[in-house]
């Protein structure tokens, strides 16, 4: 049940994308590519177009004057971050052949992994169980890209983002200028502080355990990770979401992924309980077939 709605959406999207991609000339005639807020729905093109549109959009406001990002949001463009570098999983020799990568910087769409880290990503998929399969808490940006919905609510001094799938990993993001937690307190979801940069909500997250993945494609991070998210309303029903990943232990430089948050407009929608860990049977099955529990990055000696 966990992935049913998401599966359906993703399969539809992939089928559509593959049809268009395999036969670009006929595909273009058959179907117009999906647009989001009047922008192309591939990450790099969307991000560029969306930020240009945001410059002239005056977002709705909360009573205390902040841009009002509240509501329930879906992220079909992100595909659950199953393959951040695109359908082909990246091709360093031919960057132009990386279609639909979510990576908008560097411009070649590739995650600037250190060489050992690119090898570990492949090994992660081949040998290890995605910690999220075992319902372990996910952090940004995956917490914004996972199946189904997330609800943003703004309160005086803080805001909350509650994810529906994955057993409701939630974040409380303090906006009152308080310092981060001491470095020795590591959290699966990290420690988030937010502020406004004009109409853009900026969230900085540190204090991570480094024991989770960005997505089911094995993309991983260390406990040195600092995530900077930027949420900018593009129109009343769309947020441009960008996450800059700064992890000096794993990559050669900071990199950024982007996708759209699209408003869920289902009337009377309510997030429902998901007892994720309580109904997890997949982990046991995977252990039986020889997969191992993931225990974090294996840094070179």
């Amino acid at each position: 049940m966990r992935y049913r709605l998401f599966d359906c959406a993703v399969r539809t999207a992939i089928t559509l994308a593959v049809v268009v991609w395999i036969s670009p000339s006929t595909g273009a005639q058959m179907r117009k590519p999906r647009q989001v807020a009047g922008c192309p729905s591939t990450a790099a093109a969307f991000h560029l177009c969306a930020l240009a549109k945001a410059k002239t959009f005056n977002p709705p406001r909360t009573p205390d004057g902040q841009p009002d990002l509240q509501g329930v949001w879906e992220t079909p463009m992100a595909g659950g971050l199953g393959n951040i570098e695109g359908r082909r999983g990246g091709d360093a020799d031919n960057p132009a052949a990386v279609p639909n990568s979510l990576v908008v910087d560097p411009p070649n769409g590739m995650i600037p992994y250190q060489p050992w880290a690119r090898e570990q990503r492949a090994e992660n998929v081949a040998r290890y169980i995605d910690p999220y399969t075992h319902c372990l808490p996910i952090t940004a940006p995956r917490i914004m890209a996972s199946p189904r919905t997330r609800q943003i609510a703004q309160y005086p001094g803080y805001l909350t983002i509650v994810n529906e799938s994955g057993g409701h990993p939630f974040r409380v993001i303090y906006m009152d200028g308080r310092p981060h937690l001491p470095a020795d307190i590591k959290l699966w979801r990290g420690d988030s502080r937010g502020h406004w940069d004009g109409n853009t909500l900026v969230i900085e997250t540190t204090n991570l355990t480094g024991l989770a993945w960005f997505g089911s494609g094995g993309d991983f991070f260390s406990d040195a990770l600092k995530i900077t998210e930027r949420l900018t309303m593009v129109d009343a029903d769309t947020i441009d979401y960008a996450a800059t990943i700064d992890d000096p232990k794993v990559s050669t430089r900071p990199w950024t992924m982007a996708f759209a948050l699209e408003r869920n407009k289902e009337k009377g929608y309510e997030q429902m309980e998901e007892g994720c860990f309580e109904s997890d049977r997949d982990t046991a099955d995977l252990l039986l077939t020889g997969f191992l529990m993931y225990t974090g990055p294996r840094f070179p000696k």
Binding site: L5, P137, A153, Y155, Y158, F170, V172, G268, E273
Partner: protein, 259 residues
């Protein structure tokens, strides 16, 4: 229980909308309620619409998670005064046998030892803090323990139809003066009230009452109805204390992440 969400949503929409419309109508006259009067306890924080503002980080200071009744200390278990009014729980005879069996096997049989969501009201008196985030239409309770979330819907939408096996139930709230009253149904039969083996069936119906006792205390009462297990309703009562340390925030107790 695995739940077909799409089918359920369709059912909720088709069967509940007319009911919801009726409920909304009946709520309108109550919109003026919740004004501050002279008899209110001093210092109760209030929202813009005059309701008590429960926003903040709270926790209990009792030992109910181990045993909701009077009990002496054991290894790793603090002693505690009971939170059950009158201390007696009106079990049916066969249910009492089950409770005693549970108590004997509690070290391994308590579902909480498997890190499962501990049900309502037990989640409220686990020995970890929780945060209340309050808006007029929805009050969310976020828990440090296994990052549990309860959404208490304050609008006109009624409970979902049918029976659903939720771990934390389906919570619908309303204001009675300064008291937040939450009606919770749709439970599974997989949680206990405490480590001592007090249990319920999936017919459990919990009515919670949250009443402000000043700026930093909430009186919490939970009435327990479950005719399959108890001969009559009974009630727990305890206080929530506001966590007042500067920059208090929830951390994590990811129970099943520990090796």
């Amino acid at each position: 229980m695995k739940l077909d969400r799409a089918a359920l949503r369709k059912r909720v929409l088709s069967t509940c909308l007319p009911v919801a419309a009726l409920c909304l109508g009946s709520l309108l006259p109550a919109a003026a309620a919740g004004q501050v009067t002279a008899s209110q306890p001093d210092g109760v924080r209030r929202t813009a619409d005059g309701k008590p503002d429960f926003s903040g980080i709270w926790r209990t200071m009792n030992a109910a998670a181990w045993n909701i009744q009077d009990h002496a200390a054991e290894k790793d278990v603090p002693a505690g005064r009971g939170v059950v009014e009158g201390n007696d729980i009106p079990y049916r005879p066969e249910a009492l046998v089950k409770k005693q069996e549970n108590f004997k096997n509690r070290a391994t049989a308590d579902p909480e030892t498997k890190c499962y969501l501990p049900g309502v009201p037990r989640i409220m008196y686990m020995p970890y803090p929780f945060q209340i985030a309050q808006a007029p239409t929805q009050i969310s309770i976020l828990f440090e323990y296994v990052h549990a979330v309860r959404n208490i819907f304050m609008g006109s939408a009624p409970h979902y139809p049918g029976h659903i096996d939720f771990w934390l139930g389906d919570s619908r709230g309303r204001w009675e003066g300064d008291t937040l009253v939450v009606d919770v149904i749709h439970f599974n039969d997989q949680t206990w009230f405490d480590r001592a083996g007090n249990f319920h069936s999936d017919a459990l119906h919990v009515i919670e009452r949250y009443t402000p006792m000043g700026p930093d205390h909430i009186r919490y009462e939970a009435t327990i109805e479950d005719p399959q297990v108890f001969t009559k309703p009974w009630k727990m009562s305890m206080l929530f204390y506001r966590q007042k340390e500067e920059h208090a925030q929830l951390l994590e107790y990811e129970c099943f992440a520990f090796p």
